[in-house]
């Protein structure tokens, strides 16, 4: 018995196999037509993991290379931000509410996990953070608010709820970021390694596909939105390769009707009601103008920086760590001197190894 890996059991499975085969054929014939090396960046960390989990790299032609982009929220979070979280976690008057991915990211020394403090709580949503604040009125709950357009609406709603319900002991440390300015910053930094972008389905549902217009128009790079199923990723790549072979650069989507040109206006309104863009540091990319989100002035009492009188967030990166280069698609994880030696999922140095969606972690777990 040898597992076939492709064993149609019913009509649906057969259809799926046909779609997979069709996409593979399109990719291979387009890449053959182009001839030269093609480099496609998957912007989002969820795509990075999905590409590895489905073994997609093993199905691609040799001249098609995937670059892992800056779309893993943990990975692009600046070291200075982590250090502020650590400082706040060491206080006795706080509770730190954080998404699970963040707890193993090392600060200057410790990580939230290695601090072993009772005041650090892993939560699944901002609601859980707000509930903690209501349950512990004698503590200030600091929600570690990281993520892109997919998680920012939840932070906005939590702050709005806290303001409306008068939950004064709740605040967020905003490290929220915007995807498109980062994509443009990558191209603007004379990075000519990126031929096209595979754009994340879930973020695009909120953003709308028109959000990528400037990437296509100003930089002449195809942007194709895809979901996270293996077949969708292959179909998205097929669209990209066909565009490159035809010398086109367009916005396209294989994510179906969920992505509209305008996106989810309701979610976007919640974000812009509460947050405003500012210049902020991204790990490896430096300060990107207008790509970080902070709470508007009228909500500053819910801003942890304001609440604790933290003026400047110093930025410092661990020696030898190449997460920055990796996030820009300039280096593959195995090229980093720390990868697999000093830096492993058990002893991560940089955030790309910590996060389940980090490129280094995915390479280490699934690649060879």
């Amino acid at each position: 018995m040898k597992p076939s890996g492709l064993r149609p059991s019913n009509r649906k499975a057969t259809e799926m196999l046909e779609r997979i085969e069709q996409a593979r054929k399109s990719i291979h014939s387009a890449c053959e037509k182009v001839g030269r090396q093609i480099q496609v960046m998957e912007v989002c960390g969820t795509h990075t993991v999905s590409i590895f989990r489905h073994g997609i790299r093993t199905l691609l032609p040799e001249n098609l290379k995937m670059l892992s982009g800056p779309g893993c929220p943990v990975c692009v979070t600046d070291q200075g931000y982590i250090d502020v979280v650590m400082d706040l976690a060491r206080r006795d008057d706080t509770i730190i509410a954080t998404y699970g991915d963040m707890i193993r990211v090392p600060g200057k020394g410790d990580s939230l996990e290695s601090l072993h403090r009772d005041n650090i709580k892993v939560v699944l949503s901002t609601d859980n953070g707000l509930a903690l604040a209501k349950k512990h009125p004698d503590k200030t709950v600091v929600f570690v608010a990281v993520g892109f357009e997919t998680t920012t609406p939840a932070s906005a709603v939590a702050v709005a709820d806290a303001a409306r319900e008068g939950v004064g002991n709740f605040c967020i440390l905003s490290g929220h970021k915007l995807v498109v300015p980062a994509m443009k910053a990558l191209l603007g930094s004379k990075n000519d390694k990126i031929d096209a972008f595979l754009c994340p389905g879930h973020v695009s549902v909120i953003l709308g596909s028109d959000a990528y217009r400037s990437v296509v128009d100003e930089f002449n790079r195809p942007c194709v939105v895809a979901g996270f199923e293996g077949v969708q990723i292959l179909e998205g790549l097929a669209k990209i390769c066909e565009q490159i072979a035809d010398g086109r650069a367009e916005i396209d989507s294989v994510y179906g009707a969920a992505v509209t040109p305008q996106g989810n206006r309701t979610a976007w309104k919640i974000i812009t009601d509460m947050f405003e863009p500012c210049d902020g540091p991204w790990r490896g990319l430096g300060v990107i103008p207008g790509a970080t989100m902070r709470l508007k002035n009228q909500y500053k009492q819910f801003d942890a920086l304001h609440r604790f009188g933290i003026e400047e967030v110093p930025s410092e990166e661990p020696a030898g760590c190449q997460c920055g280069q990796i996030l820009c698609g300039l280096m593959d994880p195995p090229q980093c001197g720390l990868f697999g030696k000093k830096c492993t999922p058990d002893t991560p140095v940089g955030p790309c190894m910590v996060s389940t969606e980090g490129a280094c972690s995915a390479w280490y777990k699934y690649g060879r």
Binding site: P3, L6, R53, G55, D101, G147, T151
Partner: protein, 339 residues
């Protein structure tokens, strides 16, 4: 003596209160009480042969979950450790560490479950211990069980006997227990509620050894670390490659949805009612027939093969879309992702 509503430190103090707890609350839960020996150590008659001996501690939170509770888990866990080693479970010990202030109702419920599960598995609890610690020093109730069993004459499970060409089977869906616990902890609700697979597996293992004997090379219940941890241990210890077929993995749809929401890989998630068997290719059809004839093996499936290792041994998965990827031993704690 009036029965207390909550556990007090004195319940573990060796005095009359403790005697009362053992006599009136603990022992009656284990059937007719005949098998429990209230001496410091129990004696057990054993036939000639080899004895298997194992121990396991249980600290699960929440104590009660859909499909089981800490008591059922404590019996099944130890019975299963004996069963996959090729042993027929004979007797268990039961140690309780109780937190001061624990509701007596909760203790009674857990004990009832322990008694019912042991009875159903036809295994006696013959000795035990009870300690009470100050409030805050434990989390409600911790349970330890140890167990002894007789190695079945024809059972010889070991990594060393695993060879290229052998086939890997599992008796049903993966990750049900771990996802049930995590979903319950995180307050995730689904239209079809998740249910732990917590169950005693000795009937499945016994039927295999009785029927296929030496053709059964190795068995394991993939609990913490899931299938990924067990198969990596197989690869490393036997010096072979493992090749898994993603299309063949039995997975419940709702469990998959929960895992996708939290960003988990079901191969890394704990099972409490699953047995993985590596068998000689010649008996594969027989094993599937045997298991499918038992309620706990209805969804039994061939999920992979053992191959020659070219280089360092590894576990590889052939994915649904025909790609290949490595399956590694998980870090040890799955973290829910951000988005």
């Amino acid at each position: 003596m009036e029965k207390q509503k909550k556990i007090m430190l004195a319940h573990g103090g060796g005095g009359r209160l403790m005697g009362d707890l053992i006599q009136r609350t603990i022992v009656p839960k284990f059937g007719d009480g005949q098998s429990v020996q209230l001496t410091d150590s129990a004696t057990v008659d054993v036939p000639a042969g080899k004895l298997s001996f194992t121990t396991d501690s249980f600290v699960v939170k929440p104590l009660f979950f859909n499909g089981g509770d800490i008591g059922k888990l404590a019996v099944c866990g130890t019975v299963n450790d004996l069963a996959v080693a090729g042993a027929k479970p004979l007797a268990l010990s039961l140690s309780l560490i109780l937190e001061e202030g624990l509701d007596m109702d909760i203790l009674e419920k857990v004990l009832q479950s322990i008694g019912d599960t042991a009875k159903a598995a036809n295994v006696n609890i013959i000795t035990g211990d009870t300690k009470v610690v100050e409030k805050g020093s434990a989390d409600e109730i911790f349970v330890n069980t140890a167990g002894v069993g007789m190695l079945m004459g024809n059972a010889d499970p070991s990594f060393a006997r695993i060879k290229p060409g052998d086939v890997i089977l599992v008796n049903g869906t993966l990750g049900d227990h771990g996802m049930t616990i995590m979903s319950q902890r995180e307050g995730l609700k689904f239209d079809t509620p998740l249910k732990s697979d917590c169950v005693c597996l000795h009937e499945l293992t016994e039927m295999l050894y009785n029927d296929c004997g030496n053709a059964v090379k190795f068995m394991r219940d993939p609990t913490r670390g899931g299938l990924a941890a067990t198969l990596n241990e197989v690869a490393q210890s036997a010096g072979v490659n493992v090749e898994l077929d993603e299309t063949a993995l039995p997975i419940d749809k709702t469990v998959q949805t929960a895992a996708d929401m939290l960003g988990f890989d079901l191969l890394n998630i704990a099972n409490e009612g699953k047995v993985l068997a590596v068998v000689d290719a010649e008996v594969v059809d027989r094993v599937i027939d045997l298991w499918k004839s038992h309620p706990l093996g209805e969804k039994a499936a061939v999920i992979g093969t053992i191959a020659e290792a070219d280089g360092s041994p590894l576990v590889e998965l052939v994915t649904k879309i025909g790609g290949r990827r490595i399956v590694q031993t998980p870090y040890g704690r799955e973290l829910p992702r951000i988005c």
